[in-house]
């Protein structure tokens, strides 16, 4: 293991990136829960309430309030409770979902902004027949989650990481995971899980290649 831990990408910077990629969240909105009840200027295009979302490859019609966050819609309107709310203000990553294959904090994204985009949640990670995604399987096998509250969020981040960088270095893994917090594992068994998933994947690809020949 390298002696120096890379601090090149700090948690804060990463998070700032994620938030900027999602919705404009003012400092006040980030610190304090904004009231969604009344008296706020309407968001552009947010007038209609019944909208269609593309979640896990399915079209879902859903009634969405004006300033509803994606986490709220997923959890309480669509019954997809896999994404967790650990802070509801862009700090912990427990609510991470993929929007157009990029991880976002769903607590910091307004549902109205993802109407024409592809949303993937933890519920959409396993294959249709229920076979776990290699990362999920590795997390099970390597004891990558303890209480499991952070796990769905991590899983989405890891999926994105491996999709973009199939063989990340240890530092790259650390940097990528710094968008999410875990309070149980000290991250170390998660690294093992990621390694195991990569190994499994690589073996899988090699086998396919052999078969193709």
């Amino acid at each position: 293991m390298p002696e120096e831990t890379s601090k090149a990408v700090s948690r804060r910077r990463f998070i700032m990136g994620v938030i900027a990629g999602g919705a404009a969240v003012s400092a006040a909105g980030y610190l304090f829960r904004a009231s969604t009840h009344h008296g706020n200027a309407p968001l552009i295009g947010a007038g209609e309430r019944l909208i269609t979302l593309n979640v896990n490859g399915r079209q879902r019609r859903v009634d969405v309030a004006r300033q509803e966050t994606l986490a709220w819609t997923l959890r309480y309107n669509l019954g997809l409770t896999g994404a967790k709310l650990g802070c509801d203000r862009g700090e912990c990553g427990a609510c991470t979902v993929l929007i157009d294959d990029v991880p976002h904090y769903s607590c910091s994204v307004l549902t109205h902004t993802v109407r024409s985009r592809k949303v993937t949640t933890i519920e959409g990670l396993a294959a249709a027949d229920g076979t776990l995604h290699p990362v999920q399987q590795a997390m099970v096998d390597q004891h990558g989650s303890q209480c499991g509250f952070c796990t769905p969020g991590f899983m989405m981040t890891i999926k994105w990481l491996l999709a973009n960088n199939p063989d990340p270095s240890e530092d790259e893994i650390r940097d990528a995971l710094s968008s999410n917090l875990c309070r149980c594992t000290g991250y170390s068994q998660m690294y093992q899980a990621i390694r195991a998933a990569i190994d499994a994947e690589q073996k899988g690809t090699k086998q396919e290649l052999v078969e193709a020949k």
Binding site: S10, H37, E91, F149, C150, L181, R183, Y187
Partner: protein, 860 residues
Amino acid sequence: MTDFSVIGKSVAMIDAAGKTTGAGKYTDDFTLPGMLVGKILHSPYPHARIKCIDTSRAKALQGVVAVVTGEDAPNPYGILPVGHDETALAVGKVRYVGDHVACVAAVTEEIAEEALELIDVEYEPLPAYFDPVESMKAETDLIHENRPHNLEKDYHHVFGDPEKGFAEADYVAEARYIANEVTHAAMEPHCTLANFELDPHTGKMGRLTVWSSTQVPYYLQHKLSLVLEMPMSQIRVIKPLVGGGFGGKSEIIPLEIIAAVTARAARAPVKITYTREEVFWAHRGRPRTIIDLKTGVKNDGRVTAVACEVIQDGGAYCSYGVVTILYSGALLGALYDIPHIRYDGYRVLTNKPACGAMRGHGTVNVRFAFESQMDEIAATLKLDPAEVRRVNLLKPPTVTVNGLRVLSYGLPECIDQVITRSGWAERKDKMPKGRGLGVACSHYVSGAANSIIRSDMPHSTVNIKIDRDGGVVVYTGASEIGQGSDTMTAQVVAEVLGCDLARVRVIAADTDLTPIDLGSYSSRVTFMSGNAALRAAQDVKKNIVSAAAKRMNCAPEDVIMHSDRVYKRGAVAGDNDSEAAEILQDKEAARGHVDGQILRGSVLQTRKEEGPKEHMSFEEAVVSAIDFHGALTGTGSYAPPTEARGGKHKGGGVGPSPAYSYSAQVADVSVDEETGEVTVHKIWAAHDCGRALNPVAVEGQVIGSVWMGLGQALEEEMIWKDGLLMNPGLLEYRSPSSTESPEIECIIVESVDPEGPFGAKEAGEGSLAATIPAISNAIYHAVGVRLRESPFTPERILSALRAKKGMKRIEMTESVDPTAPVKFREHGGSLWFRGKGPTRHALDPSRQGSQAGSVAGGER
């Protein structure tokens, strides 16, 4: 003794798949028809009398169903019988900023929040106490009237003859250490859903069901019954998955009671989930602790006496405080051999959120002081720090001077392991500039030998039922909170019954279904609940064995259950390996044959005619047992033996445990002398867990503990300003992220405890305490400054480095400054009230004359 088939092997958590697919349900994932959202109004004052509360405007708001205040549930409660000083909602007085004042149940969260603003509370502010030393001087305006000088509890213990011990010493070290306050920050915010059923006969409010993220469902059931004045049998507490506890959910958190009280008033299900800020304010974490420690040693480092005075800043309520202050003293013993101990402990009330139990309860901060002082002594006497620890080892079996019984003791091996693996001897004196190694040890109880409710009832009970198809259902009150309690239970049962782990299903922590268990705290589950599971499995096994003996025409002693098979001794014994292998291979076929058919009886009939057998499948044996004995059930319970229950002195009930875990650690650290930044490169942690029932889970627990200790050592700190928390957020509180977390190498040491289930002891807490001093000792060896206040932030390190160079010391922690004003004053930076930033309540006098209408972020 390598003959185990299930335990001792790393197995995946039995609930792991649910967690990785998002299918696992935590409390906040549940919704009930007609469910209302509860929101709580908190106090903006650290100490004030409530003159009146007017909820009429809130009640009139459309969508509001109920508003409750302290008067609706005035019965006091508290986790300790000696500390019943809390009420669900404030009655007459608030004692910290964030104290719970009223709760609104409404159809949406927004309406509930709006209603909170319509509640008018008239407060009369009182002088507040924020510093424990100041607080102890208080004569008037006490936080609790029955606690003179705001002293929750003080203990003065003398074991042996400390004066004599110090007189014998060649050298006496003395210093003050301060460990600042930290909190659990579990990823799942507290959440409770409460629902009353209507009584079918009377239509009145009937049974109550509560789903809650708790470590202690049975205590919750008990306290609910106390406050709601309902019999416990009318209350069902269900613990769904819990997203981490670390002690923060090991007592009754106000929202748990408030949800029930509000549901009763609203006559509808009510769910309350704390916001992240509220979680910080609910707190119950590790108190800021001031430790004055004095250690006498001989020239070879042998300890002759220890005197320790501890002051804990306990916050506004007792919580676990009396236990915390006792642990701090009691666990000076049982790690090393200390012949004479004097301990003075003060648990002080202040106007801040209550502190409670947190991972390593009571021991962590004192261990930081003690292990640092050991290192200072080693430096002064020019001894190897590891050697100083070795000369002070206990010689078990033994009873320490303060009455703690120690049987298994893996500390010597733990020390050897980390010293060898870290290359201590070769590397220690050749470290480059700014880099150092530090060593430290710690220990922890495997459950408290005396329960907090003084009673003789068993601490854990487990029931088992086995169905005709060989499915084993285990009912346990133990609370899985991510530590692997369900898996441990299943493993123990499968091991005893010699069956596949996959057969075992665990139903846990539902007070209607599962027998009583005290809960998941003080690292008691593996030892106590594990022992109960072991006994329950043995109980049910008796019946299987006796029936199998009849079927196989042999004595019950000759029946072996192993590898999902039941066979006659000799048929598959070690002396007959080839046959054994054959029979075991056959097991799939045997199972296929039996499945389903036996239930119809036909095959069973023919089988009976087959005559005596040599071996059979687990299902077959189960069916025989049910045929012979009727329903196949077993039960087992565990209470710690009387010899392990400690001395008779006042407070002697806290500290004793049937077994102690041991840990030794070496930290490899470098310090940037320019910036004061500490980088931890690696930590070697050896942990004696008796026997690792599931090594991968033990590793996870040890690494998690070390990592949490690392957080407390380097970054985590609750920063207070006149009773206001300055950093109630996960970014501001700074628990380490993945880029700040070093490699932690876990070394499992197995001392096989004579009383633990298969020899197992605790693994989930004991390692935490050694990490903080290991790091501070490493910092000392890196740059020569001794940090006696945690966390070791760059500011503190720079300040110490400056002091060492003779420059003026910068005092960074204002909270340490005794001259700092103790009066409450307005802070523009506060995130309170109710998440609205600097705005205070309309009736807050401190707002009078200030700019009206300033809102959150208004100054930007």
